[in-house]
C-alpha cells in the first residue's frame, strides 16, 4: 500500500537536493534550512516527539537569524525565453496540466471503480499521493520533451523555493500551532466564553461572528493563514461544528476564503496591496485597497451565506 510515508521520502529527496545544491553554491544558511527540513521528512516518523521538536526549533532558529537568502542559479535569458515561448506555443501549459489531471482524474477513478478495493493507496490519502505521482509524470514529460540539462529542474526549483524561503513551512507551522491550541484546550475555553456572548442557538449569528472574525484577524495580522487556526480553535470547531453540528468541510474552506476578503482590505498584506501600488507608481499607496473594498465586502457577505446554506441548511 502506498502511504504518506512514500510522499515524505519523495519530498525529503527534493529538499535534500536543494540543500546539496545550496551548499555547492556557498549558501550555508539555505543549505542548513533545507537540510534540516529534509531530515524531518526522512526521519520524522522514526524520531521521538522531542527530537522532532528540536528539529522545529532548529528550523526556526535558522529562519529567525535571517540566514535564508534568495538565490540565482544559472538559467535562460529573457530573450531565450521569448524565443522558446514563441516556438513552443501553448503546448508549454501541457506539462503543468498533467499534475491536476492526474490527481483529480486518478482520485475519481480510484473512488468510483472497484480499484478502491485493491487498497493501493492509504485511505483518504489518494489525492495527495496522486499529486506526487502527477509531479513525477510531469517532470518526466518535461525532460523528455524539452531535453534540458539533467540538473535544470532541481536548479529551477531551487530558484523558486529560495524566493519563498522560510515562508514555505509557515502553513505547516500554523497547523502545528492549531494542534497545540487544541491540546491546551483553547477551543473549550472560548466555546464556554462565546456561549455566554452569542445568543443561545443562533447559528446564523455565530456564522457571522466566525466570518467577520476571520476577516478582522486577517486585517490585523495581514495573513489569513495565521488567522485560521485562531478562529477555528475559537469558534469554527467548538461552536459551529461541535455545538451546532455544521459541515466541517464548508466551515473550513469558506472560512479561509472569508479571511482572504480581509487580505484584500489590509495594508498589512504588503506584497499584495502596497508593493503593487509602488510598482505601478501610484501616488496613493492605498489605491489598490480602495479598488478592492467594493469587491471584498459583498464577497464577505456571500461567504457568510455560503457557510450558512452549505454547512447547515443543506447539511442537516
Amino acid at each position: 500500500m502506498i502511504t504518506y510515508e512514500w510522499l515524505y521520502w519523495l519530498a525529503g529527496a527534493f529538499f535534500a537536493g536543494w540543500a546539496v545544491l545550496s551548499l555547492r553554491d556557498g549558501r550555508i544558511g539555505n543549505s542548513a534550512f533545507w537540510g534540516v527540513l529534509a531530515a524531518s521528512f526522512f526521519l520524522g516518523s522514526h524520531l521521538s516527539d522531542f527530537a522532532n521538536g528540536v528539529l522545529v526549533l532548529a528550523l526556526v532558529a535558522i529562519a529567525g537569524t535571517g540566514a535564508i537568502k534568495r538565490s540565482a542559479p544559472a538559467t535562460t535569458t529573457p530573450e531565450e525565453r521569448s524565443d522558446y515561448s514563441a516556438r513552443l506555443g501553448n503546448r508549454l501549459f501541457a506539462p503543468a496540466l498533467i499534475v491536476p489531471v492526474t490527481a483529480v482524474a486518478g482520485t475519481l477513478l480510484y473512488n468510483y471503480t472497484p480499484l478502491e478495493q485493491t487498497g493501493l493507496f492509504e485511505a483518504r490519502r489518494e489525492t495527495l499521493i496522486l499529486f506526487g505521482i502527477g509531479v513525477l509524470l510531469a517532470l518526466a514529460a518535461g525532460m523528455a520533451w524539452l531535453r534540458p540539462p539533467l540538473l535544470a529542474p532541481a536548479e529551477e526549483g531551487r530558484r523558486l523555493i529560495d524566493s519563498i524561503g522560510w515562508a514555505a513551512i509557515l502553513p505547516q507551522m500554523l497547523a502545528a500551532l492549531g494542534a497545540v491550541f487544541a491540546l491546551a484546550g483553547v477551543g473549550d475555553i472560548i466555546g464556554g466564553l462565546a456561549g455566554g456572548v452569542i445568543p443561545q442557538g443562533s447559528i446564523f449569528l455565530t456564522v457571522v461572528v466566525f466570518a467577520l472574525g476571520m476577516a478582522l484577524f486577517t486585517i490585523i495580522m495581514g495573513n489569513a493563514f495565521a488567522a485560521f487556526p485562531v478562529m477555528a480553535a475559537a469558534i469554527g470547531i467548538p461552536l459551529l461544528v461541535e455545538t451546532y453540528g455544521g459541515n466541517p468541510a464548508v466551515i473550513g474552506a469558506v472560512g479561509m476564503l472569508a479571511g482572504f476578503c480581509g487580505t484584500l482590505l489590509t495594508p498589512m498584506a504588503a506584497n499584495f496591496n502596497i508593493v503593487p501600488a509602488a510598482l505601478l507608481e501610484l501616488k496613493d499607496q492605498n489605491a489598490v485597497i480602495r479598488q478592492q473594498i467594493g469587491t471584498a465586502i459583498p464577497l464577505l457577505l456571500c461567504n457568510i451565506v455560503i457557510i450558512y446554506v452549505g454547512a447547515f441548511l443543506l447539511w442537516n
Binding site: 527534493f14 521521538s48 506539462p95 491536476p100 522560510w166 497545540v180 468541510a249 476564503l257 469587491t295
Partner: protein
C-alpha cells in the same frame, strides 16, 4: 477555569501585527500556550514536534516547483503574457474581465505563479488596461489613470485569491485539513477545495461587474461634462 492559554492567541495577533518573523511568532505562541496550560518545557517541545511532524503533508506541495521552474526556463511566463496580449483591441472592461477569468482558472489548475504584480501586472496588464481605456474614452485625468491601474492590480489579487483554493494541493487547503484533523475531523483535500467553487463564482461576478462599472463610469463622466 484557566483562561491563560488564550494569551497564545493574543501573542499571534500582536506578533504578526508588529511584523516579527512569523515563524518565531508562531512557535513563541505555541510554547507560551503550552506552558500556560500547565505543560512543562520538555512536554511543550514534544507537543510541538509531534504536531509539526503529523502535518508534514502540508509542505509536500512544494515538490511542484521543479515542474513550474522547468517550464519557466522555457518561457512559461512569456507564454502567459502572449495569451494576455492576444486580447489587445478589447475595451478595458473586457480585457480585465478576461484577465480575471484567466487568473482564476490557471490558479485553480495549480499555476498560481502565472501572473502576479511584478511579472504580469506592471509590464502588461496595467499598461494594456490604460491604453484600452484611453482608446474608448480619450485621454484620462490623473485620478482616472490611477483608478484604472489600481483596478488592474486589484483584479490580479482577486483572481489569485479566489482561484487558488480550487486547487487541492495548496498550502491553505492542506492547512485547513491539518487543523481539522488535529481536532478530530478528518477531511480530504478535494472535499475542501470543491467548496471554494461557489465563492470563486461570486468573486468573478462581483469583481467583473465592478470592472465594467468602472469602464462605464469613465464614459459617463465624459458625456456629462460635455453635455
Amino acid at each position: 477555569m484557566n483562561y491563560w492559554p488564550l494569551m497564545g492567541i493574543a501573542l499571534v495577533v500582536i506578533g504578526f501585527a508588529l511584523r516579527f518573523n512569523p515563524l518565531l511568532v508562531v512557535v513563541g505562541a505555541a510554547v507560551a500556550t503550552g506552558l500556560l496550560a500547565g505543560l512543562d518545557p520538555a512536554q511543550v517541545v514534544e507537543a510541538l514536534g509531534k504536531a509539526f511532524n503529523d502535518n508534514r503533508y502540508i509542505s509536500v506541495t512544494w515538490i511542484i516547483l521543479p515542474v513550474i521552474g522547468l517550464l519557466e526556463r522555457y518561457g512559461l511566463q512569456q507564454r502567459a503574457r502572449a495569451v494576455i496580449e492576444g486580447v489587445r483591441g478589447a475595451t478595458m472592461g473586457k480585457l480585465l474581465v478576461i484577465y480575471l477569468g484567466f487568473r482564476q482558472i490557471t490558479a485553480a489548475l495549480g499555476m498560481k505563479d502565472i501572473g502576479g504584480h511584478p511579472q504580469a501586472v506592471r509590464p502588461l496588464v496595467a499598461p494594456m488596461a490604460e491604453a484600452a481605456a484611453e482608446k474608448s474614452h480619450g485621454s484620462l485625468a490623473e485620478d482616472e489613470r490611477e483608478q484604472v491601474k489600481a483596478m488592474a492590480a486589484a483584479t490580479d489579487n482577486v483572481g489569485l485569491f479566489f482561484g487558488e483554493d480550487i486547487f487541492f494541493a495548496i498550502a491553505s487547503i492542506l492547512l485547513i485539513q491539518g487543523v481539522f484533523e488535529s481536532a478530530g475531523y478528518p477531511l480530504t483535500p478535494l472535499q475542501l477545495s470543491v467548496w471554494a467553487i461557489p465563492t470563486a463564482i461570486c468573486a468573478f461576478i462581483i469583481h467583473g461587474w465592478r470592472i465594467t462599472a468602472l469602464d462605464r463610469g469613465l464614459g459617463q463622466r465624459r458625456r456629462s461634462t460635455r453635455a
